[in-house]
Amino acid sequence: MAKVKAATGNEAVANALRQVNPDVCAAYPITPQTELMQRFSTFVSDGKVKTELVLVESEHSAMSACVGASAAGGRVVTATSAQGLALMWEVLFIASGTRLPIVMPVVNRALSAPLNIHGDHSDAMGARDSGWIQLWSENAQEAYDNTIQAFRIGEHMDVRLPVMINMDGFIISHSIARIEYLEDEEVSSFIGEFRLLNPLLDVARPVSYGPLILPDYYMEYRRAQSEVAARVPDVVMDVARDFEKLSGRKYGLFEAYRLDDADIGIVILNSAAGTSKDVIDEYRSRGVKAGLLKPRLYRPFPYREVGEALRHLKALCVLDRADAFGGSFGPVFIDVATSLYPYDVRPIMINKIYGLGGRDYMPDHAEAVLDELLQIAETGNVRRYKEYIGVRE
């Protein structure tokens, strides 16, 4: 039986972590994640969880302690944002390369400089090729649901990889929304007992973690990791099906919204997808065939499935809440363009960079994008392939 509550995104995810009841949590405060760990710490102080809480002196040590704890053999969590994720960067690759199923909510925030504490996706995009599974969440409900599913996905014996759950800083982390919580027992039986794999604490069977591997075998090791990543989408779908049976809420690799018969479409991550869907509904009511694709599993990116879902469009705009500096397009655009490359007939694509450092994404931004797409679909002419929107000229 679901319990309906009003909660912030941070509160919802903290509650998910309480229900999961991990063995170890190592964390460090950073805005806008701080509230999440404060709430979780209260659960620890009140004896609501069995978790050993390690209050480290930096995010680098948070991830380092998570690696040690996970290799020791148990369920491990942390959470962070922006600079914290950047400081963890070195150890992110070690967590995934060592195949440790650590779970980490990331409350997305802009990277410095200039210093800014508000939501954009530059933090997680900087870690997109770190070997972590990335799930993205439109709202607090999705962040809660993704957090619970993350344990099943990462700990799956075919996967054993760390998982990042992304939600927009402040916009979702600090806004109060309606949440349907699962019962505690439903969550614990859904995730099941943690399955040990070569635990360090098995002193009768000593194992060595973190070897030096030189040119003779490094490449085989990396290929094995790439093959593991290829297995992730199937596991994500299996877990989503089980989760739907439990909660009634359906998840996939991405959400396709009014996309099947659409002529024009938008690809957009996280909270801005909600605003965009409202605008699409309005255009649909006017007879405009517009649709949307919101990636959920962003790493590994389901190229084939995304390509199939978008290939029929005439014109497509990918909206990125982060830029990939270097004169190219935003990161999501690059992935979507790659997905569509194999098709001879594919939509004309444009890229908009929006909402950096917490700049609001408004319905009129989505309207302007859809109007532009309509024109491109009609004329085939593109004014600009990439531009910043909602910015002073």
Binding site: A26, S61, V67, A69, S70, A71, G74, V91, G210, I213
Partner: protein
């Protein structure tokens, strides 16, 4: 208090760092590690900072470690073992594990004095039940003898090479043992492989104490010290007998010198056999030699005064 082990008893114990590792011949670090592991009556889980010891002891698909061992990165051996220990405490509390296990982090001076200092400081302050061992060879030996904050004054290194205007390292060593002791941890000590009984005794004492412990152990490196490959023990003995590397412990804030040389040898006895100090023996560098002796004397004096503070 752990029972004192005789050499005969130690010789009967299994050595948990197996032969066949690829440390240089004559290296002090594996001697230190073997002594530390021999000293434990308990199963040990160890972490290891990136460095000589790590790259030479676990090259896939071989490992020299007969105990559970984890290498994470360069600067985080302390944070890593603190995570292992946290999981141990969690599982023990939940009744999922019953073994009495001890946790040891190993790092060189680069991974401890420099890049790993924050990680070590955090782990000590958080009160984990762990022992951190720094094997101090006085430079970044793994990458090729670069200067660290543990490099002694005057030493020739590849990043502060002796040249026509630079006489080697121009700064003094950082006193890491004191820095870690200042965290008010229950036990911090300095040891040397030349004084194996003292070293083993300290490790055994540390492992019986609950909470964070730190030991700084001298580990001669013949490649970096430009010394003979059969000199590791002789040089570490000279380091102790010249009072360059005093053997002492700070237990619950009380300083105790555990070995006092009958006759304090001049520092040149320690410096002379090492090629990294060769230039100091040129006539124009006489003042530098005098300064090194002065610094050693001052530090030794200070340490004795600290000890005297606590003796009744």
């Amino acid at each position: 208090m752990a029972k004192v082990l005789t050499l005969k008893e130690l010789s009967k114990r299994e050595i948990n760092l197996s032969p066949g590792h690829r440390m240089c011949s004559g290296c002090g670090a594996p001697i230190v590690v073997k002594m530390v592991l021999l000293a434990s009556d308990y199963p040990v889980v160890a972490s290891n900072a990136t460095g000589c010891l790590e790259v030479s002891s676990c090259i896939s698909t071989y490992t020299a470690w007969k105990i559970p061992w984890i290498h994470n990165a360069f600067e985080n051996a302390a944070a890593t073992i603190s995570g292992v220990e946290a999981m141990y405490r969690s599982l023990k509390r939940q009744g999922k594990i019953t073994d009495e296990i001890k946790f040891i982090g190993f790092g060189g001076d680069g991974g401890t004095y420099d890049i790993g200092l924050q990680s070590l400081s955090g782990s000590m302050e958080r009160g984990h039940d762990m022992l951190y061992i720094c094997y101090d060879n006085g430079a970044y030996m793994n990458t090729g003898i670069q200067r660290s904050s543990a490099t002694p004054f005057g030493a020739d290194t590849t990043t502060r090479p002796v040249g026509s205007v630079v006489p080697g390292k121009t700064e003094k060593r950082k006193n890491l043992t004191k820095i870690i002791a200042a965290h008010n941890i229950p036990y911090a000590a300095q040891a040397s492989p030349s004084h194996w009984s003292d070293l083993v005794k300290k490790v055994r004492k540390a492992l019986e104490i609950k909470g964070p412990k730190f030991m700084n152990i001298l580990a001669p490196c013949n490649r970096g010290w430009r010394s003979r490959s059969d000199d590791a023990i002789a040089l570490s003995r000279l380091a102790v007998e010249t009072c360059y590397w005093p053997l002492y412990e700070i237990e619950d804030g009380v300083t105790k010198i555990t070995f006092k040389p009958k006759e304090k040898k001049p520092i040149v006895d320690f410096l002379k056999p090492q090629g990294r100090f060769k230039h100091l023996f040129k006539p124009e560098n006489e003042a530098l030699l005098a300064r090194i002796q002065e610094d050693v004397d001052k530090e030794w004096e200070k340490l004795q005064k600290e000890e005297a503070c606590f003796s009744t």
